[in-house]
Structures are given as structure tokens and as C-alpha cells.
């Protein structure tokens, strides 16, 4: 872990930037009132607003202003925050503001668009910003976690999507392991279970034979995945074949299909209102399928990959929302939960293959340091944190003087924070979401609402 910088308490100040979102926010929230109120807070150095912070002009504005008003922390009131990495945080990084010291408040989806009364929405926005300021001030600068990536990929499912992804990765010179269960790939030209190939765009999948004879491709077409262990950049895969067990390491993983015994368990939830339709209409493709959920067995595989069991874990969600998550190099494609549209299945497979090639070429990948941390001097070594960890990321290690303390495996920790509540002693912290920060955030809101 790189040595951490600490900001002295009396050097902690905040600059607040408000984004009007071309009127989407500024027409429904009174920026002047907010600025007036927030400027009065002792830690606020400056409150500035711009019509569109995400535009080139807006980014230049922030760069210029941050030069004029150097502060330790920055709070942005704008659209919903992403996962640390936004063009704005990159810009701020260029001028020396660590991205972990930037907090973004959602003034659009959580204020402007859901409260029609301008006064109420503005009051709420002020409270949220005040909370975010207090929370941000408790944050220390951090660095992302960087992991080495193995130059090999695992593709699960030898359907159209899987074949295309495998071919693409192999063509870039990386080793590919293509795994599918017995009985699914019967014809010699692959399973083609998704439907008509996308012949119009000349993206028909290769035949099994072609792929099998491609250099760097290893087929396991009558095999089952027994276990996947490890973490970002290095996964150890054990495959049970008819001959026995085989193990190999991969850096990226694409799940394009779940075995039929598992896929057949997929259930279509009753079409109760609010459960159908993802709301991402307009892209012409099949939308994410909230009605379909992975079966229990399929969840087992997702578990091994440290991936949520919910319906969210499709590549479309990854692409649309969680950019830094792509750096994990694990992709569960929509075809794996029963996608009917061959074109988007192939689109997804191609995108996921390209991203994984990119990660493998870079040889390392970085993900945000939102993981648990042990404050060793407080740790009792009772192991309650290890008991609740779903990812076996916590172990007890011996320190000098026979003291046992909890230790976090950064590769395995997914940052859920269950361990910190299990700890009776407050010796487990979730970086970026510490109890101290959440309390400061809440107190900021309370102080604004009931002075």
C-alpha cells in the first residue's frame, strides 16, 4: 500500500461547484439561495456555479477556478455521482486534487426532478450539500488499488456470443479457455442457441472447428466449472472434464451463457407493475430483463466471481453505469440470463471482449479503494469480521507480542462493509464510507434542517 498522505485539520477547506445541467437543475433549484447559505459555513471557501460542468467549457471553468481558489476538498452538486472516476475528477486530479477528496451530490435525480416546489427542493439541496461538505472533510486522500492481470481469458458458454468473444480475444494474441457443459454443443458448427446469426453485418460466429484450431484457444466443451477462486486480475479456474480436473489462471472472465440445466431454471417473474421494463428505452435493442433472474446454481457461479446475485449484473448495466467496475475484467453478458436478441448478444460479447483485451494489454488494472481497513491498535482479534465476510477476505494474522489482528486481502475484499458492523470495537473501517463520515454527513443534514 502506498504511504498515505494526511491533511492537517486546520488545512481542510471546501470549494463547492454547482452544475445547472443546462437548466435541468438550475430552473428548479435556487442556486443563489444555496450559494448564500453554503458560503456562510466556516469550511467553505467558495461556491461557484456553471451551466454545464461536464461540457468542455465547464471543465475549463473548474480548472481555472480551482487554480484561483485552492482548497483541500471539493463538493460538486450536479447529476448523480458515478463511481469516483468522472471527467471532472480527472481534471481535478490534473490540478492536484485527489479524486477521493471530491464528493458529488445528486441535485438532479434526487432534487430537481422529484420535487416540484422550488423552495423545498432548494432547501433539500442545501442540506445535502452541507452534509456532503462535512463528510468530505473527513476523507483522506487515497490511491486506487492496482492489480497485475494474467494474459488469459475464460469464456463460459459456446453459443454465438461466446464463440465470437473467444475468437476476438484469441486474435489479439491472448490465451482463451472456452468452457461449456456436455450436451449443449452437439452440431459441429457450434451451439448457435441464440438464434439467427447476425449475417447482415457479417458477424457470424466461427465454427467450433475453426475456433478449436485457432492458436491460443483451448476448448472444454464437455466440462463443468468446479470452482473459481481469486480476485481481480488473477482468477484460478478449476474445470471438471470427463478425464478429470484441470486448473488454469485467467485475468478476465466473460460469462455468455449459464449451463442449460441452470438456464432452464430461469424464471419469468409475474408481470407485476413496476417490475418490468428497465426504463432505458430508445436504444432499439432488447432491454435488460428484470423479470429473469439467474437460478440458484447460476448464482453459485456468480458468487465465485464475487458478483452480486441480483438482476443487475449484466454488461449493459456495467456499461451504462459503473465504468470503473469494467476494470474488474469480469463480465456477465445478458445472453447468460436468457437474451432473445442475437444482435445485442453479439454486440455485448464484442464490447466485453474488447474491454478485456484492453485490460490484458495494459497488464495491470486499477479499481477504487473502497475496501475494508483494519485499525490494528483497536482490533481484539476475535474474528467476528471474518465470520460475516462473504468473500473470505478477512483472516487473522499474528503480530508482535502474540497479538492477533484481522487482516484484509485487498484482492478479495469487495467493500460491502458487513465486517465493520460485526466489529464491536470500531476497528474495521470501510474506506470512503466510514461510520465517522456517514455520521458527519447525517449531522450536516440535521444541522441544516433543524438549526
Amino acid at each position: 500500500m502506498p504511504e498515505e498522505k494526511h491533511i492537517e485539520d486546520d488545512c481542510r477547506t471546501v470549494a463547492v461547484y454547482l452544475c445547472g445541467c443546462k437548466g435541468e437543475i438550475s430552473d428548479r433549484i435556487d442556486f443563489e439561495a444555496i450559494a448564500k447559505r453554503i458560503s456562510l459555513l466556516p469550511d467553505t471557501k467558495v461556491v461557484l456555479s456553471h451551466d454545464a460542468l461536464c461540457s468542455g467549457e465547464g471543465r475549463a471553468f473548474v480548472k481555472e477556478k480551482i487554480g484561483e481558489n485552492a482548497t483541500s476538498h471539493v463538493v460538486i452538486g450536479a447529476c448523480p455521482p458515478g463511481w469516483l472516476e468522472t471527467p471532472l475528477t480527472q481534471d481535478l486530479g490534473d490540478v492536484g486534487v485527489n479524486k477521493y477528496l471530491v464528493d458529488q451530490v445528486d441535485l438532479r435525480e434526487q432534487c430537481a426532478w422529484v420535487h416540484s416546489n422550488v423552495e423545498e427542493a432548494s432547501a433539500k439541496a442545501t442540506a445535502l450539500i452541507r452534509g456532503a461538505i462535512q463528510r468530505a472533510l473527513k476523507q483522506e486522500p487515497l490511491e486506487d488499488m492496482t492489480f497485475a492481470v494474467q494474459g488469459a481469458a475464460l469464456v463460459v458458454g459456446a453459443g454465438d456470443a461466446g464463440l465470437i468473444a473467444a475468437q476476438r480475444i484469441a486474435a489479439s494474441g491472448f490465451k482463451v479457455y472456452l468452457v461449456d457443459v456436455p450436451g449443449r454443443v452437439t452440431s459441429d458448427d457450434g451451439a448457435h442457441d441464440i438464434g439467427k446469426a447476425d449475417s447482415e453485418r457479417c458477424r457470424a460466429p466461427p465454427s467450433i472447428e475453426t475456433l478449436g484450431s485457432t492458436e491460443g484457444v483451448k476448448l472444454f466443451l464437455t466440462s463443468e466449472i468446479e470452482s473459481i477462486d481469486g480476485g481481480v486480475g488473477r482468477w484460478n479456474v478449476a474445470v471438471r472434464t470427463q478425464e478429470g480436473k484441470e486448473e488454469f489462471d485467467v485475468g478476465t472472465i466473460l460469462i455468455t451463457a449459464l449451463p442449460p440445466s441452470q438456464a432452464s431454471d430461469l424464471v419469468r417473474a409475474s408481470a407485476e407493475p413496476g417490475r418490468s421494463g428497465s426504463g432505458e428505452a430508445g436504444d432499439g435493442s432488447t432491454m435488460s430483463t428484470p423479470g429473469k433472474k439467474p437460478s440458484e446454481d447460476a448464482k453459485g457461479i456468480l458468487r465465485m466471481l464475487h458478483i452480486g446475485r441480483g438482476e443487475d449484473m449484466t454488461v449493459r448495466h456495467l456499461l451504462s453505469r459503473r465504468l470503473p467496475d469494467l476494470n474488474r475484467g469480469v463480465f456477465v453478458l445478458e445472453s447468460s440470463v436468457g437474451l432473445e436478441n442475437a444482435i445485442s448478444a453479439i454486440d455485448d460479447a464484442t464490447s466485453a471482449a474488447d474491454i478485456s483485451i484492453d485490460i490484458m494489454r495494459r497488464k495491470t488494472t486499477s479499481i477504487p479503494r473502497i475496501i475494508a481497513r483494519v485499525e490494528e491498535y483497536r482490533c481484539r482479534g476475535c474474528g467476528k469480521c471474518a465470520d460475516v465476510c462473504e468473500y473470505d477476505a478477512v483472516t487473522l494474522v499474528e503480530r508482535e507480542g502474540g497479538i492477533r489482528v484481522a487482516h484484509i486481502d485487498e484482492l478479495r475484499c469487495e467493500g460491502c462493509g458487513l465486517c465493520r458492523v460485526a466489529c464491536c470495537n470500531g476497528s474495521m473501517a470501510l474506506l470512503g464510507y466510514t461510520t465517522t463520515q456517514l455520521l458527519a454527513n447525517m449531522m450536516g443534514i440535521i444541522e441544516e434542517m433543524s438549526p
Binding site: H115, N117, G131, S276, L438, N441, I446
Partner: protein, 536 residues
């Protein structure tokens, strides 16, 4: 917001997965919900510290919603199940404190269900509006005082506790349980010496003043009767007035609950533990002060300690001796843990509330289960208030009286039960109640096998007032459990529920020594005694 209408402050904790997605969907769909709702993002609903709920209600939140993934769809597997379970216990704690449990609500939403979420939030805000505001009490800022003032206070403290009499004979050092495991620990004697040298500023931000368990062994051995414990207690109050605070276990949840009791006059609902067959009477001259047992059951729900069975057992024993005591919903925490963490202001509020309800009740005798309540009334309340006009008795002393009067009897047993008894520091060392519990246990047919450190040399359970728990604490606890196990007794009995919480915590997890060495069940004496009462 419309004039005159109560606008509640509502915090919603939203997980980073389904809940955050649903909030985005609500925004995109422009599904309105009241602006009272302020969202705090967390990674998982299971990662929300319950201390935040209590601290929220303490400081001015009227309702808290937890929004997470639908059941069985937690991104991390079990987070929302854990959260659901924890919320149920937090609701129970709210009820005990006299707050409506509807003030905490859980909303498990599908990631696409913006409309559903908005509707649920509307409903929740309506509910809270109907419940009205959480009484705030006075939210006074803890004013920091000047260092000079603190210096004077410490001079006074030196006089009062006779700290100047210390001749560095070192008798106290030998018995202090902490240095054995934490050699750098500056025990009270060292703290006293530093204060005599006038090193005030260093004193108050020293973590050692919070590490001291205040067990009082040093006091009891000092040939010059220096009150080291009193000195530490006073020093903590001064440290706090300068803005220093200890690291509290459970992130301060317990202290926060106590402050809610101190600052508000909520109508508490704390008598659910009374078994239906037991009798209590509001007009009784005998008041049974039960302590915070039910609260601890809610807070330590995962450990299933069943501490409220202690008060039920005590009541059963009293009833069997023909005594029908008064128990009161107006009882509040005695304030022990606030006082010992330096929060004198809220301690005094609790004292006033407790004394005023006892005076109104007309009680002549107050009987305590918990040694901490007993010490706090007998020593601290009387120090502030002068002699109290009612008798104070620990349950073991009172039951002993009933036994002497022939009212309480236990059936003769053919064989005795081998037990060992852990004297809690508050009862054994501070209050010198050592023989009373032993006499009771023997009368009931138990054979007490004494531990290596016992009676007025008893070893500490490792922690006091929920501060600075550490690996040293763990070692002290395991040492005590080893002592207990090596007596060969079937049970380790204690009269202090907190000793029970601490000792059982040490052995409940993964321990660095063989489980066999410390494997002995911990039980409260009241429960052990009640089990041996004649069957009715």
C-alpha cells in the same frame, strides 16, 4: 413547505445497487416524493452501523428508512438479510426507549422500480408526519472550556482524591491487571504522578486515562488511601470538557441511547420482561431498579444472551419470598457509563430523573440487580445529592435479609453444584459486597470453588463503560475465563450483566488459545438461584 405543518427530517440510507438504481429511476421518471427525504449512500444495507440510527434520533432525525436490494437479491449475498434482522432489533430498542418502532422502516426495492420507491417514501413520510417529532431535549453544544480552568479543576481533584499522598510504593502496580498484557500502559499511579508534576495538557489527551478499567484494585491496596479511581473519573470529565473523547465500543450506540434517556421525557416501554405469573405493585415500599437489561438484549441481539431473564429471575425470587416490589417504566439508565466517559452533564440529568421518580414512588428501599447501578446510586448520586432518604441494597444483600427473616428458603439438595463466582469490581471492590452473594449461593446448594484472584483481589472482566476495548481487554478476559475453568466448576456465576457480556464475548469468537481452557458457561446469580427455588 406549508406553514404550520410538521415537516419531519428523514434520512434514507440507500445501498449502492438496487436502491441507488431505483432512486435514479425515480428521478428519471420524475416520480415525486417529499423533499423531507435526504438520501445517504452506503455500499450495502447490511453495512449501516446501528449506532447511526440511535445517534440520528438523538440529534434530531424523525424517521430513518433503509433502502436495499430485494430479499435474496443482495449484491453481496446476505447484506440485506443481516440488515433486516438488525433493524428488527433496533426497532425493539426504539420501543424500549419510548420511540415508535415505525420510525425505522426498511424498503426492499427492485432496481427498476422508481415509481414503487417514490410511493413507499411518500407513505413513510406520511407515517412519520402522523407520529410527530422526536422530542429533542435541549441540543446544547458541549462547550469547550479553557485549559487554565481545567488546570484548576485538576488541582482540586488532587486534593479531593488525596493524590498528593502517593509515595510511589508501587503496591498498586503489582495488582493492576493491564500492564501484564500492555507493558506501556501508564496506570493510575503514573497518571497521578504526572498530574502532580503539572503536565495537564498531556494528561487529558492520553489514551491511558480511557484504557484504565477503573476496577479499583489500586484503591483497595493503597496504604495512604489515595482514590485513584476517583481521580481517573474526574480527569475524564476534564478531558471531555477540552473536547477529548474515548473510543467507544459499538461506535457509541450505547452512550447515545443513554443520552436519549437523559435528554427526553419519553414514555418508555421497558417492562415487557415481567413474566405473566409474577407480581409487582405500584404502591410497594420496595422498588426494584432493574437496569438496562432489556436494552442490552436488543443491542446484543446476535449473541442471544437473554439478559432480561435476570430481572425476571430476581422478581421470581422476591415473589417466592412474599415480596411484591414496585418496578417502574420511569426508570432510566443510572448514567454510570456516561459518568465514566466524562459526560457529567447528561449523567446529572439521568440522576435527577431517577431520583425524582423514586421519591415520587414513596419507596423506602431500592434494590439493584446491577452492581453498576448500585455503586452509582450509593457513591456518585450521594456525592452529588448528599445522603439519600431511602435504603440502597444490592439484590444479594436484600435476598440475604429475606433469608435471615425466614421468608426465602431453598429446598435441601443432596448434592451440591460446583460453581465459581466472579466478583464484579463495582460490587466486590468498590462496594465491598463479597460475602452476601456467596452466602446465598451456598444456601441454595451450590459449592463455590474460588478462583485464583477472588473477592477483594478479584480480576477484572476487562472493560468498563464501553471504552477502549482492545486486544489487551481480550487477554484479560481470556485470563479470567481460564481461571474460572481451572476451578473445575460447572458454571461461572456473576452478578454483573456487563461482566457476563464481556466474558462471553471473549470466548464467543475465534480465540487464540484452546477452547477447552476457557469453555465454561457464564450465568447470572439470580438466574442460577431462581432455578433452585421450590417448584410451585
Amino acid at each position: 413547505m406549508s406553514e404550520g405543518r410538521f415537516e419531519p427530517t428523514i434520512i434514507a440510507f440507500a445501498c449502492a445497487w438496487s436502491a441507488s438504481s431505483a432512486l435514479l429511476e425515480a428521478g428519471k421518471g420524475k416520480h415525486e416524493y417529499p423533499a423531507n427525504v435526504k438520501v445517504l449512500k452506503v455500499m450495502c444495507s447490511g453495512s449501516i452501523d446501528p449506532a447511526l440510527f440511535v445517534q440520528g434520533f438523538e440529534n434530531g432525525v424523525d424517521g430513518i428508512a433503509v433502502i436495499g436490494c430485494p430479499q435474496n437479491e443482495c449484491h453481496y449475498g446476505t447484506g440485506n438479510t443481516i440488515a433486516e434482522d438488525r433493524l428488527a432489533h433496533m426497532k425493539h430498542l426504539l420501543e424500549l426507549l419510548g420511540l415508535d418502532s415505525r420510525r425505522i422502516s426498511s424498503l426492499w426495492v427492485a432496481s427498476s422500480d422508481g415509481q414503487g420507491l417514490a410511493n413507499a417514501l411518500c407513505g413513510f413520510v406520511d407515517d412519520i408526519r402522523e407520529l410527530g417529532p422526536v422530542p429533542r431535549g435541549n441540543r446544547e453544544k458541549e462547550e469547550k472550556v479553557a485549559v487554565e480552568e481545567v488546570k484548576d479543576e485538576i488541582k482540586f481533584l488532587i486534593e479531593e482524591t488525596k493524590a498528593y499522598k502517593c509515595v510511589e510504593c508501587g503496591k498498586c502496580t503489582v495488582v493492576c491487571p493491564i500492564p501484564r498484557f500492555e507493558p506501556e500502559f501508564a496506570m493510575p499511579r503514573i497518571v497521578v504522578l504526572r498530574s502532580l508534576e503539572g503536565l495537564t495538557e498531556h494528561l487529558v489527551d492520553d489514551k491511558d486515562i480511557w484504557t484504565c478499567t477503573t476496577c479499583g484494585l489500586c484503591n483497595s491496596l493503597c496504604p495512604f488511601k489515595v482514590d485513584y479511581c476517583g481521580f481517573i473519573q474526574g480527569l475524564r470529565i476534564q478531558a471531555r470538557s477540552l473536547g477529548h473523547q474515548p473510543v467507544c465500543s459499538h461506535r457509541g450506540l450505547i452512550h447515545s441511547s443513554m443520552r436519549i434517556m437523559a435528554k427526553t421525557d419519553l414514555k418508555q416501554n421497558r417492562l415487557q420482561w415481567i413474566p405473566p405469573e409474577c407480581k409487582v405493585s405500584e404502591s410497594s415500599k420496595i422498588l426494584y431498579f432493574t437496569g438496562c437489561l432489556s436494552h442490552f438484549d436488543a443491542i446484543f441481539s446476535d449473541r442471544k444472551l437473554g439478559l432480561s431473564n435476570i430481572s425476571a429471575a430476581t422478581l421470581r425470587i422476591m415473589n417466592s419470598a412474599g415480596v411484591v416490589p414496585n418496578v417502574s417504566t420511569q426508570e432510566r439508565c443510572c448514567g454510570h457509563d456516561l459518568l465514566w466517559t466524562g459526560d457529567e452533564g447528561n449523567f446529572l440529568k439521568l440522576m435527577d430523573k431517577n431520583l425524582s421518580f423514586i421519591r415520587q414512588s414513596g419507596a423506602e428501599k431500592v434494590v439493584f440487580s446491577c452492581p453498576e447501578c448500585y455503586r452509582t446510586f450509593a457513591v456518585d448520586y450521594q456525592e452529588f445529592e448528599g445522603d439519600l432518604e431511602f435504603d440502597l441494597l444490592h439484590m444479594s444483600e436484600y435476598l440475604g435479609q429475606l433469608m435471615d427473616e425466614g421468608k426465602l428458603t431453598f429446598p435441601k439438595r443432596e448434592t451440591t453444584i460446583p460453581v465459581t463466582y466472579h466478583d464484579s469490581c463495582r460490587l466486590g471492590i468498590h462496594m465491598e459486597v463479597i460475602d452476601a452473594p456467596r452466602r446465598l449461593l451456598e444456601a441454595a446448594g451450590m459449592n463455590i470453588l474460588e478462583m485464583e484472584n477472588t473477592k477483594n483481589r478479584s480480576y477484572c472482566c476487562g472493560n468498563c463503560a464501553w471504552t477502549n476495548c482492545s486486544s489487551t481487554t481480550m487477554k484479560i478476559q481470556l485470563e479470567r475465563m481460564k481461571q474460572a475453568k481451572s476451578t473445575g466448576a460447572s458454571y461461572l456465576l456473576t452478578s454483573d450483566p456487563k461482566c457476563q457480556i464481556h466474558l462471553s464475548c471473549a470466548t464467543s469468537g475465534d480465540i487464540p488459545i484452546e477452547k477447552d481452557l476457557v469453555d465454561i458457561p457464564v450465568k447470572d446469580i439470580a438466574i442460577a438461584l431462581a432455578e433452585l427455588l421450590p417448584k410451585t
